[in-house]
Amino acid sequence: MNKLVRLASVAALTLLGACKGPGEAPKEEAKTDAAPKTEEKAAPKKADTGPIKVGILHSLSGTMAISETSLKDVALMTIESINKKGGILGRKLEPIVVDPASDWPLFAEKARELIQQDVAVVFGCWTSVSRKSVLPVFEELNGLLFYPVQYEGEESSYNVFYTGAAPNQQAIPAVEYLMSAEGGGAKRWVLLGTDYVYPRTTNKILQYFLAAKGVAKEDIMEEYTPFGHTDYQTIVSNVKKFAAGKPTAVVSTINGDSNVPFYKELANQGLKATDIPVVAFSVGEEELRGIDTKPLEGHLAAWNYFMSIDTPENAAFIKEWKEYVAANKLPDGDKRVTNDPMEATYVGIKMWAQAVAQAGTTDVNAVRQAVAGQVVKSPSGFEMKMDEKNHHLHKPVYIGEIKAGGQFNIVWKTEGPIRAAPWSEFVPDSKNKVADWQYPWLCGNCTAAKASGF
């Protein structure tokens, strides 16, 4: 009998060991160049000649692993390609991958570990709550974080560069599009989201924005569902009743898994995209990969990059990604796609590399000065600039219709990149706030304009 128990536990342990999953931390750390490492050991004092350590802080396990693993992969790809060209300042980059396991307090712990290991910069985080949890650490230890995901704004930190979209680079243009004759001229709005900080804040901004555009209160319906909600029967039938009489559009900040039952329910209750279009801010190529896209076709998504953008730069980016996936035998192989946060990670790393080369050092203060105003040619074909003042990227906005097969058909785009407004002009509390990190004006949420005229 005891033998059996032992056998079972041995089997269980082996299983656990085997389940470490492909592409996790230890493997990645082992992959870095052996040569520079020994060099570093030989001269531990002279930090300026060894490899430059770069932290990568993305969840590789837990609920966010689905989205964040690709960001880790694309970061490693970009670092590898920089190393192939000889690195920066004659030094190779050494990626240090840690796994905060979709656990928000662990993000802060791992961030502290990374900065104390003297990484020059950290690329990481996805959810707003993880960013909020690492923020005090980066500010306390004067670290540098590049955050690659679209977020709710109302924030600006001296220690963070935001390469994802602020609300005026995603949510507001999408709503404007749906209001226009081109987009269907919606008069009624359903703001539907998962119950946490990003949807709540975005919807607050949209409420103010719609009010400014003259939409009456009774023409806006706001609904939240818990994380992992699967039963959308009541909500969809309410949307249907609400939409009777006036052209209506749904703005969805429903997060992750709940999207599938939501769109399925829409299709099953006979709500077509032509009648009630749904524009989503969290549904991209990667999210569409695991699902049957039939019920989603014709619905919209707003992003700053789509895999279907037809530019030579994007073709090169996709080719580089596909080759990297094949060479490293990443799971799912040729089914892997590119998406907006991956592009933002890619642009962010290149931008940081340029800044280091320009500053001639990896010192955080010098690099921070050099990143402002830095320009990178992005896969979307535009020259993307890091704003000199507010630490946010200038980005173009695209609206795409979901096609069969999980790709997007671009139906609208801005003329060029637009400047981010981290503090929304539509929210009374933040209307007068200024984010300006340009020397000598160092302030993320000042309420007065720059002083002058003394």
Partner: protein, 536 residues
């Protein structure tokens, strides 16, 4: 017959008010229609229908099907049934240069649907006319009103006529002519179309200053009556809808919990890996579908027929294996069972991640389960929900039969009621435990098949359902299958009755608060076991 035909022609002519179906207008409309902006396309679609309705029907049908293209010279042509026809003349042509398909967006698609509905209002087939008339009630405009006025008297089918009248009334309610408004108000008296509610409300409810949008008191009284009947209708639909949604949610809860009612309810094993059995059932469905897809899409349509026994067999075997390896050593030690089954659940999740990947997998509904049946206007019950509800009832019947009608079931009940006496009567209690646990797991697998039709299939699928499942079993009364059935449906209904008034988030919280009180009041659940078995 001839008269109808003549009327039709006359109607189309009237609609095409300037009866100058010149080729120039057609070309102009086609140029607009094939332009880059959707606002122009929308105009082009309307213009084409006016310029030449017959051609428009052919061209626009092709546009809807994605068969309309523009070649390198800017000539618009359509490719239908292997034939290539020039759009302006409908003569065969050979396109030159790079052809591009004319793509629609939601705006132009809507314009297309409205225009095509008008064109098809004179179609020969009744169902096409009915569909068109229905669509037109969604886009009320002067043009369609004019068209309907000329067609409605000649229309033979009563259903089509009813929808036409509704579409007409929607336009006429806003007319300047009080007589037309009165007529419209009368014609909507018994339509009970709930999409009228906001319009009617705007007309008969006074604004802040006490002004009415509808000035004529007689018309207003008539509208008021219509509004009341519509509102009664909405109230009625809401009750029916909430009941159906509640039963449907309840069936999902029940199906997820039924396996647990056996492993936890009967065997008192706190089985944290129960959710993973659901997940394995869903993945079995995925596996079967993938295998059948390789054989051909026609075969794969019926993957559920195979998936049900396969999922049951897989999870049954898994349950038996777990019982043999782990759980049997821990009977009577709830804390250790809890921890080890929780560990097992983590192992199973990782195992699935390694084998199938961390991404969710696609389990598309078969075509015969997509869509739904419209019980009433604004109340569509999806086929997948109906299927899950009936499947649940079948599974409950199956469990009932096993426990009450077979000798295995008799032994299971004997062992769970009094293990020692059952053993002394010669029942191999250990073996019965194994079968019981297997049965519970197999039922969870069946639940997984159903869940794969409603939501996501991913490694974390089970985690979402485990808490709900325990709640259902505890509320129903541990050890009582009937209690589980009632509590599953009861919780589903309660949830759906609360949701419309307080929202999904508050609804769930409220329900959990109510549960706390309920458990205090009846710690044994709805149906407490009576007798000696309960005292152990």
């Amino acid at each position: 017959m001839t008269r109808t035909f003549l009327l039709t022609i006359a109607a189309l002519f009237l609609w095409a008010s300037q009866a100058s179906a010149g080729p120039a207008e057609v070309d102009q409309a086609l140029a607009l229609l094939s332009s880059e902006t959707h606002v122009d396309m929308t105009r082009g679609i309307a213009d084409l229908a006016v310029a030449d309705p017959d051609k428009a029907l052919v061209v626009l049908t092709a546009l809807e099907a994605g068969e309309l293209k523009k070649d390198g010279r800017g000539v618009v042509f359509l490719e239908t049934d292997g034939k290539v026809l020039q759009a302006s003349s409908l003569e065969p042509t050979t396109p030159s240069g790079n052809a591009r398909t004319i793509a629609l967006n939601n705006t132009s698609r809507r314009a297309l649907s409205s225009t095509l509905s008008k064109l098809r209002l004179t179609a020969k087939r009744v169902d096409v006319r009915l569909e068109s008339a229905k669509r037109l009630t969604e886009y009320p405009d002067e043009e369609s009103a004019e068209l309907i006025r000329t067609l409605i008297d000649a229309e033979k089918n009563a259903d089509v006529r009813r929808w036409m009248a509704l579409a007409l009334a929607k336009v006429d309610l806003k007319s300047e002519d009080a007589k037309l408004r009165m007529q419209a108000a009368k014609s909507i008296q018994d339509s009970d179309d709930i999409s009228l509610e906001p319009d009617l409300k705007a007309l008969v409810v006074p604004d802040a200053k006490g002004h009415y949008l509808e000035k004529d008191a007689a018309v207003r009284a008539e509208l008021d009556r219509a509004l009341q009947s519509v509102q009664r209708r909405i109230f009625f639909i809401n009750i029916i809808a909430n009941t159906i949604y509640g039963l449907s949610l309840g069936s999902v809860l029940l199906l997820a919990a039924l396996g647990l009612a056996i492993t936890f309810g009967l065997m008192k094993v706190i089985n944290m890996a129960h959710g993973e059995m659901l997940m394995l059932g869903a993945y079995s469905t995925y596996f079967v579908r993938e295998r059948l897809l390789a054989a051909g899409p026609e075969v794969a349509e019926y993957y559920l027929v195979l998936a049900i026994p396969f999922a049951f067999a897989t999870t049954f075997a898994m349950g038996v294996l777990l019982e043999r390896l782990v759980i049997r050593h821990l009977y009577g030690r709830p804390l250790e069972t809890l921890l080890s089954t929780w560990g097992l659940s983590l192992i199973l999740i990782q195992l699935v991640r390694v084998v199938f990947g961390a991404q969710n997998v696609t389990v598309a509904n078969p075509d015969w389960l997509s869509g739904g049946v419209e019980l009433m206007p604004a109340l569509v019950v999806p086929y997948s929900r109906i299927a899950v509800l009936s499947f649940t009832l079948l599974v409950v019947a199956f469990v009932w039969f096993i426990l009450r009608g077979t000798s295995v079931g008799l032994k299971v009940r004997a062992v769970t009621q009094n293990r020692e006496i059952a053993a002394s009567l010669g029942i191999a209690t250990r073996r019965v435990d194994m079968w019981t646990f297997g049965l519970g797991s197999g039922l969870a697998g069946l639940g997984g098949v159903a869940l794969s039709q409603l939501g996501n299939v991913g490694p974390e699928l089970g985690q979402q359902h485990i808490i709900d499942s325990f709640v259902v079993v505890v509320v129903g009364g541990v050890g009582n299958i009937l209690g589980t059935v009632i509590s599953g449906f009861g919780l589903g209904l309660a949830n759906k009755i609360l949701e419309p008034s307080v929202g999904a988030v508050m609804g769930k919280i409220l329900l959990l608060v109510l549960l706390i009180f309920f458990i205090q009041w009846r710690p044994q659940g709805l149906f407490a076991l009576k007798g000696r078995a309960a005292e152990n």
